[in-house]
Point group: C2
């Protein structure tokens, strides 16, 4: 067995707590990681997590409410960050400055300069940052990536994605646990959680690796659902029934790419509905739609028969292609976690990258690009859907991504087609 | 039986021919219409259609290649127009000038002024125009309209729609039959066929009846699919393999409404896929998705169980609501035609309006609004997705739609909630 990666966890709220339970504690039991230290602003969370680790028969980690104390611990190699959205960048920058390999949870940015801060800190310190975007490791997302690489889709011309998740209960839940969502929904208006949608699409479209986003347009619907929900569940006299939620119920965002592709992503988090990331890949030779899990391949006579299959003729047929095209990461088994395996996969990729000194599969340029969508979306919404130019965080190196890999001040060993380094099959 | 409406048909290509077969000839046999005259630029089509009518035991209609000859026939009450897209407005205006009640087939406009021409001609002559948008009469479209009117969705905040139809064969087919599609795909780039998508959504959102579109943004993907298809099916030496198709493969268009709602429509007509209009209604209290025919209603415990139903738990459950919410037009039986009943419904609405002197359920303001989307989409695409202001063809009367109904120079008897006049149930 290889040496355990010495890990710190910063942010012990819902997400940090969940990841601790799985995959982190199981990986610690298997000797892949050692939980050296944990940190949260709230002492009770720190105490709680220390107890959980100890109860699992693992060495009790150092616990602190002070980030600097944790970052001063030299033996810590990797810092997994699951703090509030607003603290993501400052905590990540501090950890990189301390020479740690950062795993940063999903979330959008608040200002473009913060995205540049991540990039510049990486370029100056050489400390790597991986965006812990678990949806990049989704079963269908990886399968379609595999099929795109194998040419099944021909040229991909458009992708759709979404974060459709009824978060109403979470948004108005206890201020301690979910405070950051509530204040964001009260005060902001834009694509506040883009990375689940855009991560898998960006990988599939080679964003920052031969392609880049050129422009972005975003519109927001009216904000009626949260008020309705508060009135229905808490009554018209509840304090939250007296305030305006600025966040539109549905945010639709269009991106254009240097390669000519377009992308449409939707944020839909305040309404009654079933969860969906409605991942869709539209190519010159095939079409995949997640909402009915259908795969239509050009020239397939069976599919052609269902040309007018508005209803259920093709629904679910993507399953038939799993044997041939399921990504090797999924074929190998994915472990158990609260999100059906993807938390395990993203964390394993992170730990592997730290242990082996690899450039992360979702790197600081990707993180800056995906997180910038929130900022640019807010700007476009505020300007009535005006297209906003998309920054190039690679400063042109997306045209020859190997440039970044060869850069002397990075540890980069990225191969363009080795985005998921546990696999070289596609 | 009421007196037969004296009908002329202008445009005897694929669509005019299809509508003749059903519902027009069956309605003629039942004495609801009399096919008085037919017109096409091509004499062979005129002769062919005269023969078909005669072979069905009906009186032989007058046939001509000259529109003016047909419009000069005084007894003709109604003119159904199914000409090429480019001729829609000029033929419709000529027919209105001649005092005929016009039924105009689906298609987009080429210039905003043409949309105003339709409106001004109607306002000056009092000749009514109905847009023959059959998808407004779709089973799910009418059912959701019914449910929205009954409050099941709460406030609708966003709708999606699309025209996803693999038209590759038709686009490159014989120049005589489909010439207008080919030239449009070679030369233009935008949402060239918006009415199927936007018609049902506009009705549901009360567009021109208390609501209106305020702005529109459109982006086009690269155009790779037609070239691929020509090469694959005709070979790299085919003349169409030597030219550029300007029409992007996927056009995504965002509309904002005065009422705060947003709409996203997609044109996807050059790629391999199953047909879909992916009609979607997102409200504060319910969600309908056509692609898996699922209906999620707030407070429904059964639905709530499927909150994480990414896959098939809820697929097809909208059927369970048909008994309670199917629109009466569908409950009454819809007849047979090539589009599963909707051609019959739209034509019956048209003939009823003509016979009873009613303002049409999809009127000239609606026609101008829906058709303008093509023009505005092209403008936005050409400006890199710039939002374009949406004209108000009602000149402010959308705020009190009864104003139009009471207008002295119209025959208008429109009731805001009687859009589909065969029904007053919702």
């Amino acid at each position: 067995m290889s040496k355990a990666v010495k890990l710190a966890i910063v942010g012990l709220g819902n997400r940090g707590h969940g990841m601790l339970g799985s995959p982190i504690i199981p990986m610690a039991k298997e000797g892949e990681v050692e939980i050296v230290a944990v940190c949260d602003l709230l002492q009770d969370r720190v105490d709680d997590v220390k107890q959980i680790v100890t109860d699992n028969g693992l060495p009790t980690p150092f616990g602190t409410t002070k980030l600097a104390e944790l970052l001063a611990i030299e033996e810590i190699e990797a810092v997994y960050i699951a703090v509030s959205w607003e603290a993501h960048v400052s905590v990540a920058v501090a950890a990189m400055e301390a020479g740690k390999y950062v795993g940063l949870e999903a979330g959008g940015a608040y200002d473009l300069e913060d995205c540049y801060r991540l990039v510049r800190t990486y370029e100056r310190t050489g400390s790597e940052l991986m965006l812990m975007e678990n949806c990049c490791y989704g079963k269908r997302e990886l399968m379609m990536l595999n099929m795109v690489r194998k040419g099944v889709f021909g040229d991909v011309v458009h992708c759709n994605g979404a974060y459709c998740h009824d978060l109403r209960t979470e948004i108005i839940a206890g201020k301690e646990i979910k405070h950051y969502r509530l204040r964001n929904y009260l005060l902001r208006n834009g694509e506040n959680y883009p990375t689940h949608e855009i991560g898998p699409i960006a990988k599939l479209l080679d964003i920052n690796n031969g392609n880049r986003f050129v422009s972005i347009t975003s519109v927001a619907s009216c904000a009626k659902s949260m008020h309705q929900y508060v009135v229905d569940t808490k009554g018209a006299d509840h304090p939250l029934a007296q305030v305006d939620f600025k966040q539109g119920d549905v945010i639709t965002t269009l991106l254009t790419c240097a390669g000519g592709q377009t992308v449409c992503i939707t944020l839909d988090t305040t309404r009654p509905r079933a969860y969906s990331r409605r991942f869709e890949v539209l190519g010159t030779k095939a079409t995949y739609l997640e909402d009915n899990d259908s795969l239509f391949i050009d020239g397939n006579e069976e599919h052609r028969k269902h040309e007018w299959a508005i209803w259920d003729k093709m629904w679910g047929n993507a399953k038939e292609y799993e044997e041939e095209y399921l990504h090797s990461l999924w074929k190998d088994g994915v472990g158990n976690d609260m999100h059906g395996g993807i938390d395990h996969l993203v964390f394993a990729a992170f730990i592997t990258a730290v242990r082996d000194g690899l450039h992360p599969p979702i790197d600081v340029y990707d993180a800056a690009t995906y997180m910038a969508i929130t900022v640019l979306s807010e700007q476009s919404v505020a300007h009535g859907g005006m297209p906003i130019p998309f920054p190039d965080f690679t400063a042109g190196r997306w045209t020859i991504r190997a440039d970044i890999a060869d850069n002397a001040y990075t540890l980069d060993r990225l191969d363009k087609h080795d985005l998921y380094h546990a696999d070289s099959a596609y």
